[in-house]
Amino acid sequence: MALTNRDILHKYLRHNKRFPHIWCPGCGIGIVLGACLRAIYDTGWSKDEVVFSSGIGCTGRAPVYVDFNTLHTAHGRALTFATGIKAANPKLKVVTMMGDGDAVGIGGNHFIHACRRNIDITAVIVNNMIYGMTGGQQSPTTPRGALASTARTGVVEQPFDIAELAVASGASFVARTTSYHVHQMEKLIYRALAHPGFSVVEIITAAPTCFGRRNKYSDAVEMVKEQKAMAIDVKKAEGMGFDERRSRIVTGVLMERDAPEWTRTYAEEVRGESPAGDSGNSPGETTPEETK
C-alpha cells in the first residue's frame, strides 16, 4: 500500500532530531528535500543502504533531518566524500544535495570531474542563485545585473548554466526543473536515482530572504510565480538561440544516455571481476534491513 506524503515524511525524517529546521519561510530547500524523500520512497531502497550527503550552506543542512546514513561535509567537498563512499562500497545508494555555490562555486572542479567520471551518485542541486547562509552574496549562478550584498550595483559576471555544464562534463543523466514544478521535480529525482551513472537534477528555487528582498520581490510567491512563467520545456526550447535559452528556465530531461559507470567499469576492467558478478567491494556485510 502506497504511503501518503505525510506518512513518507514521518518515515524518513529523524524522530530524535530537534525541529524546526533552519530554513527561512518561503525557502525552496524544504520543497526539494520533500521531493527527494518521496522519490527515495519510490525506489524501494531501505534507509540503511542510502547515504545522504551534502556540503556547506543552507542546502548543506538537509542531511541532519533525514533518517539515512547522513554526512555533512566541508564546503564544496560533498562529491569528493561521496565518490569515496561509493567507490569503496558500490552497494550503497549515494545521494548528494548541494547548493549552487557549493556545487559549482567552491566545488566546481569536483562537480565537473564527478560528471566526467560518471560514478553512480545522484546530485540534487538546489539553485537559488545566491549565497544564503552568509547573507546574500553573489554566487556563480546569480543572474547578470541582479543585486547581491557583494554586488551592490548588480552582478557584472555571467552565470553558470549548471545543467548544461553537467551535460558538457559528461554526466549521463541531467535534468532541470523549478520549485514550482513539484510533481515534475519528484519524477525527475526518481529517474536520477534510478539511473546507473552520475545524475544531476538542478532545481531553481527561491531564496526570498537573501535574494528576493534585495531584488524587489514582494514575497516568495511572486518568485515562484516567476519560475513558472520563465520555465519552458526542453522540447519547446529546441531551436532557440543561445541568448533566448538563457533568458528562460529550460526544464525537463536535458540528457539521458547509457555510459560506462565508474564502479562497474573499475570492477570489470581493473579488478577483472565478471560483469554478472556482484561488483561490490563491501568491506563489511551490507545487509540492508529496515529497523523502523
Binding site: D48, T80, F81, G84, A88, E285
Partner: protein
Amino acid sequence: MSGRPQRELLCQGNEAVVEGSLAAGVRFFGGYPITPSTEIAEILSVELPKVGGTFIQMEDEIAGIGSCLGASLSGAKSMTATSGPGFSLMQELIGFGCIAEIPMVIVNVMRYGPSTGLPTSPSQGDVMQARWGTHGDHPIIVLTAASVLEAFHMTVKAFNFSEKYRIPVILLLDEVVGHMREKVLLPADEEVQVVNRVKPEIPPDWYKPYEVTNTGVPPMASFGEGYRYHVTGLVHDEMGFPTQVKSEVTASTDRLFDKITRGFADICITDSYQTDDAELIVVAYGSVARSAREAVDQLREKGHKAGLFQITTLWPFPRTSLENTAKVARMMVVVEMNRGQIYREVWRVSRGRWTVHKVSGTDGEMIAPQMIVDAVKEYGQWR
C-alpha cells in the same frame, strides 16, 4: 593480503610505505600525483585491485583526502600520499577528519618549500604544518621514519593508530627516505600486528556515534551496516547532531584531546642511542637521524660523551621520553632540514635544564655527519 611470507627486498621508502599499508589492510587510495610521493600512488594503483581494493586518481589533493574520508566511512582503510603543495591543500579536510573522528593515513613525502620550492630536494619543513596546518584547536598524530624499514613499520603504526584512536594520522617522510633504496627484511603478514577500528555491538537504536566511552574512543559503524547516524564537521553532541550548548561543545572538544592524551605512552615512539652517560644529546628525526647516529659515533671516537635521541613520533611531542633520556645531559643539538621547528619544542621542554642549539640544513641537501660534528665543536664548551 594475508599470507605473504617474510621477504627480502631492495626497495625505496615509498615502496616500503606501500608494503606497510598492504600489511595493515589498506583497501582504498584516493590521491593526486606529486613528486616525490608519486610511486606510492603508482604502485597502489596496481596492488589495490589485486586485493579487492580501490584506487582512484582524483582531480586534486582536496578531492584525494575527501575521497579517503568517504571511503573510510564506508569501512575501507584509506590512505592518500602527497608532498608539501598537496599537503597544504589537504589541511581543511584534515580538520574534518579530526572532528568527525574518521581514521585515515596521509603520507607527506616532504620537499623543499614554500610553494613549488625546490622540486624535489629534501626538506623537513612541514613539521609545524603537520601539527597546526588545519584551523582550530585539534589533536593530531604525526609519525616519521629514518629508514626504508622504518617506513614500512611506521606505515603499519599509522594505520593502527588511526583505527585505534579514530583520527587522521600523518606520516612525514623526507624525500631522502622516500626515494632511498635499502635492503630490507619485511615480516610475514601474519607477524604484523594489525589494529582494526572497534565496531558497535549494540542494537542500532542504542548507538551513540560520539558517546563518551571509557577509552575515549567511541565504536565506529560503517555506512550501510544498519547504524544510521550523522557525520558532520560542526561541533556535535553524542548523537552527532550539531550543538551550540556550551557544556556539550566543551565535552566534545575535550574528548578529542583526551583520547590522544590517554594514549601518549602508546603513541610516542622514540629511540635512544648511547644516551646513558651522554652529556651532549643530538636530537634528530627522519633521514637526518642516520647522519646524527654516525656523528655520535665519530664524537664518541674522539672521547666525547655524545648520544642520539631519535624522534619517531613528532606529534604529540614525546616530552616525557626526552626528559627521561636527558638525565645527565648538559647540551642538546637539534639537527633538522628546516630552520628549527623541532628545535623550539626541545627548547620549550628544556626549561633551562640544558642549553639547546640547532643545526639547520636549509640548502636542499642532506645533512652529512661531518656537518653535525663541526657544529657541535663550534658550540664551544666541548672539551
